[in-house]
């Protein structure tokens, strides 16, 4: 697909590449940072609760969570609605303006035109920091390599319909 200059500015290089190569209907998963316009009244921040006012830490934390959820819903409700209207599935965005968005590449590309979409990245792998002990490192990598190899081979075996006598 063709990406416009303004869309490129909002997408990380991996997402740019994925959008360029994708056909419009291909399903992609992206991480989007949402935010209201700079001078929006929606940027108003609620006063933070004082921990001393609560019986225990759990009650204090619940008040913080509620406050945050109200703010996010107020700030980003319309933007999220716009994204859903484009048949995109949204995950997250309850206490943080970062959402996981899944849907057709064409719609993800179009959503980059929305002013409320600040930045978007392609979903990618996150890994454990391997302990640096040589023995542990070798053990972990060899174990993982074996599992990955096995999974790769399994994925290449075609699905075979069971014979009638195999059915339960």
């Amino acid at each position: 697909m063709k990406i416009e200059e303004k869309q490129i500015e909002k997408a990380d290089p991996l997402l740019q590449e994925a959008l360029k190569r994708a056909n419009g209907d291909e399903i992609l998963r992206a991480i989007m940072l949402l935010g209201p316009e700079g001078d929006s009244e929606k940027n108003h921040i609620e006063q933070e609760p004082d921990p001393e006012q609560f019986a225990d830490r759990a009650a204090y934390r619940q008040a913080l969570i509620n406050s945050r959820q109200r703010q996010i819903s107020h700030q980003l409700g319309d933007i999220m609605q716009d994204l859903r209207a484009r048949s995109l599935t949204l995950f997250g965005g309850t206490i943080s303006p970062t959402v996981v968005v899944e849907g057709a590449a064409r719609e993800i590309l179009r959503s980059l035109d929305l002013p409320g979409v600040r930045h978007a990245s392609l979903d990618r792998v996150i890994q454990l920091h391997e302990p640096s002990s040589p023995e542990r490192k070798a053990d972990a990598s060899s174990k993982r390599a074996k599992i990955e190899r096995f999974e790769q081979l399994l994925s290449k075996v075609p699905d075979v319909e069971p014979e009638d006598h195999d059915r339960l």
């Binding site: 830490r57 204090y60 943080s96």
Partner: protein, 411 residues
Amino acid sequence: LEEWIREIIMGIYIIRPKETLATRAVGLISKQFAPERRQEQIAEVVSLRNEDPIYDDLTRWLAESPKDVNPLTHEPDTSVTGTKVVEMPDEEAERMRREMPDVLVLRDQPIELIRPARATAISKEKVTASDLWHLKAIGLEGARKRGFKGSGKGVTVAVLDTGIDSSHPELDGKVDEAYTFDVTKWQARPISPSRDTDGHGTHVAGLICGKKVGIAPGTKVINAVMIPKGRGNLSDFILAIEWAGRQENVQIVNMSAGIPGYLPEMLTSVANLLSVGVLPVFATGNEGRNKTRSPGNYAEPISIGATNKKNRVASFSSGGVIVADNHRYEVPDLVAPGEGVYSSVIGGGYEAWDGTSMATPVVSGVAALILEKYPKIRVTDLVEELLTTCKDLKQNTDRQGKGLVQVKAAA
């Protein structure tokens, strides 16, 4: 299926004459260890090989072989060793062995590190006082001798890791809940019993709240399997952080995973953890100087480096200067014991592991002790308490941050 069958019947083979003129005549070649002589030495080896009849036969055999014998290397790639790497069916390799007895035909295989002897020496059924050097380094042993009774009671740490083996005696009764994450349904699914997919999370949890090895034995942990078998996705991280942030009983999030370099994608999620009163404690990575990983290299969480028994920053501990959004700062924020640290391992027993992953739960444990003493402080004040009570190790700030974490604020 075709590709699968091909992988099974085709093999990669390492091929070279068992003995070459070059190895037989090795004494004739200059062995002077001088860079300026290197090209001359290579030319001597190549020249000797070109006169070698076995090598000549091998080259001819490969040239006349059937189509499915496919050399993967070319002469300039292996000019020093003269080794050829060839993909071919196993029966062709057998034929080569029969027809060319002077040629070594070796099927390629995985190469593994030679395990040092200490791999077995460091596995133990029981730990002794001297194994628990990490408790002494952070001032906990001394504080306990002086009557400190803090245990982190009433505090819950979410461990975003590979899982936790709750059957380990160190962790008996310590794992409150356990979850796996499904991004496609945006769900945290409870699992029972709590288990570990790799072993890493069990070692980490032991250091937070283990009966003997733990910093805060009264603290509870939640097993959040965010990186099953050591691998997850950015979306798993976003889900796990959102989930942890919404659990009112969670006060600290402990994590030792990341993506190399500085990637801003996870920044707002981490910042929002702080805004809902959760302290993120993240490892910086195990790649040494000037190499860090996100999210451990963000300014928002407490970023952790590792020290050794001599109270020096471990060479593998990641750190450096980060420039992002017109800000310049250094990571880690502080360091904690992380080299040769004993903790619980999957299935029982103890092992000493190295890594900033081991230092991170030590800091989470100290933070739990502080929270037990001051349950009503703001998370920003908790950060201050951790940073202002460190012991200065007199090393550069891009290695040690504020210094070695201490229990002073809690004791």
